[in-house]
């Protein structure tokens, strides 16, 4: 099996031949979301939020908010005319060297950054956003509904432009210790709009991958129930083995890497990385519903963007022990 065939064997609940890794299984596409959601290299986005480039990616400029009260969102939030953003041209450029043969080999994965909660926090800061969820849930729900309409329109554009197999939707809802908000608040305030976003993607025949960092295991079941087939960046502070056992062929765990552990420290050796990759393969990889995602930061930034000489030997070693 090639990468694509192996991936779809996992999706169809069949036995894959090997444990894939996210660096080799996907053609990841980011140009669309850099226009509609968050500029990767920093700058002002289509909503007027300024993003600053950091070593691990762009983030909203700290302490610069468009508004403080969610009840005021309509005065400050203006959705861009998607016809004017150049999404299709950017997608065409990103895919210009990706031909049909490549499509037969790899899985096309379109990223959609800055989901419902992250966008709210980008507008008004995390503290204000989190307080709003419990102090003014009605305004939050109204805001999320409008934002979901925008995201669905963006996703439809991405799907038309890229013809992807997977859409990975990013929304960080947790710290390393647990969810930012209670599961009840998530379910009552965010989930209804989140659900519409998931269903709009899956109704187009595209696999929905949910990205949430941190310890979010309490709502992974909600993701599965809504139709997500992949949970991305599934980090090791969650009970990954229990989740794999529980959801079996309904959910692929993409992650596993201990991003706070020694293999992610500055100065970790290639051998340390190989050991961590082997640990992931042994602990999570044997059930046929796991994709390794090495989250590696180095002195220059996120290795996904800046590269890292340790990755190649690590992947080589991983690919020698990843057969199932």
């Amino acid at each position: 099996m090639n990468q694509r065939e192996n991936f779809f064997a996992m999706i169809e609940g069949k036995k894959p031949e090997f444990i894939p890794n996210s660096m080799e299984v996907y053609k990841s596409c980011i140009a669309g979301t850099c226009i509609t959601d968050s500029p990767l290299m920093g700058g002002v986005d289509s909503f007027g939020v300024n993003w600053v480039a950091t070593k691990e990616g762009a983030m909203p400029e700290p302490n610069k908010f468009l508004f403080d009260e969610i009840a005021d969102w309509k005065e400050h939030v203006h959705f861009a005319d998607l016809d004017s953003l150049g999404i299709e041209a950017a997608a065409a450029k990103e895919m210009e060297d990706f031909n049909q043969n490549n499509r037969n080999e790899l899985v096309v994965n379109v990223f959609s950054a800055c989901g419902l909660f992250e966008r709210m926090a980008a507008f008004m800061g995390f503290e204000n956003a989190l307080c709003s969820l419990v102090e003014d849930p009605d305004s939050c729900r109204e805001f999320f509904e409008a934002l979901a309409d925008y995201r669905i329109a963006c996703h439809n554009r991405f799907i038309d432009a890229y013809q992807p197999d997977v859409l990975t939707y990013f929304d960080d809802l947790a710290t390393a210790n647990g969810l930012f908000m209670s599961p009840k608040v998530y379910r009552e305030v965010i989930k209804p709009s989140h659900q519409r976003i998931v269903e709009a993607v899956t109704s187009r025949g595209v696999i929905f991958s949910q990205h949430t960092c941190g310890k979010c295991e309490e709502i992974v079941g909600d993701y599965v129930e809504m139709g997500a087939r992949i949970w991305h960046s599934a980090q090791s502070m969650n009970d990954l083995e229990g989740i794999q056992e529980k959801y079996n062929d309904r959910l692929i765990i993409e992650g596993g890497w201990d991003s706070s552990g020694p293999a992610s420290y500055i100065g970790a050796s290639t051998e340390d990385l190989i050991e961590e990759a082997k640990r992931c393969a042994n602990v999570y990889g044997q059930k046929g519903n796991f994709i390794l995602m090495p989250t590696l930061l180095n002195e220059n930034g996120n290795s996904l963007f800046v590269g890292d000489p340790r990755l190649e030997p690590m992947l080589k070693a991983f690919n020698e022990i990843n057969k199932l």
Binding site: V52, K55, F126, L130, C131, F180, S182, S260
Partner: protein, 209 residues
Amino acid sequence: MSKINEVKELVETGKSKKVGAAVQEAIDVGNKPADILQAMVDSMSVVGDKFSSGEIFVPEMLIAAKAMSKGVDVLRPLMAGDNSASLGTCVIGTVAGDLHDIGKNLVSMMIESAGFTMVDLGVDVPAENFVKAAKENDNVTLIACSGLLTTTMPALKEAVETIKASGLSGCKVIVGGAPVTPEFAAEIGADGYAADAGSAAVKAKELVK
């Protein structure tokens, strides 16, 4: 319910719009401002414990801290010059190379609620700026350094080493952040470590008493 208990309950449940009036009523019926302040500090201690145990989440902790702040606004003019309840000044910041402020802000709110005066240096703070702020401000008893990324763990180490080498006396250093462990905190010479905002407030009080 006594007025002071009403204040406590309003802080614990984050009713920031009602706390100011309740504090004023507690004063009007003869409660001492210092006792009302202590009641609110006690409430926040309960909130911190509930957060650390997973009983409540960040929003509930935030609105409680916001409610306490509203109550303190009413007390402040009455307590000018009265530092009897103060635990001193805490200088806080996210270390150099790291722009993450959520954890640092939460810790800042909880440490303030425990009775410290906060000097928040923001994010991406060079090691020497912690020392400078500690020297420039009165009665600094605690310096709190935060870092979210594994890549900024060396900056945490540098911050602690710089503070310790500066000759500052009478001030303790506490560190925290996602990749930080108690072992790492001890290894770099920090006086204390906390895993979350609730336990940071507890540890902060412990360190300066």
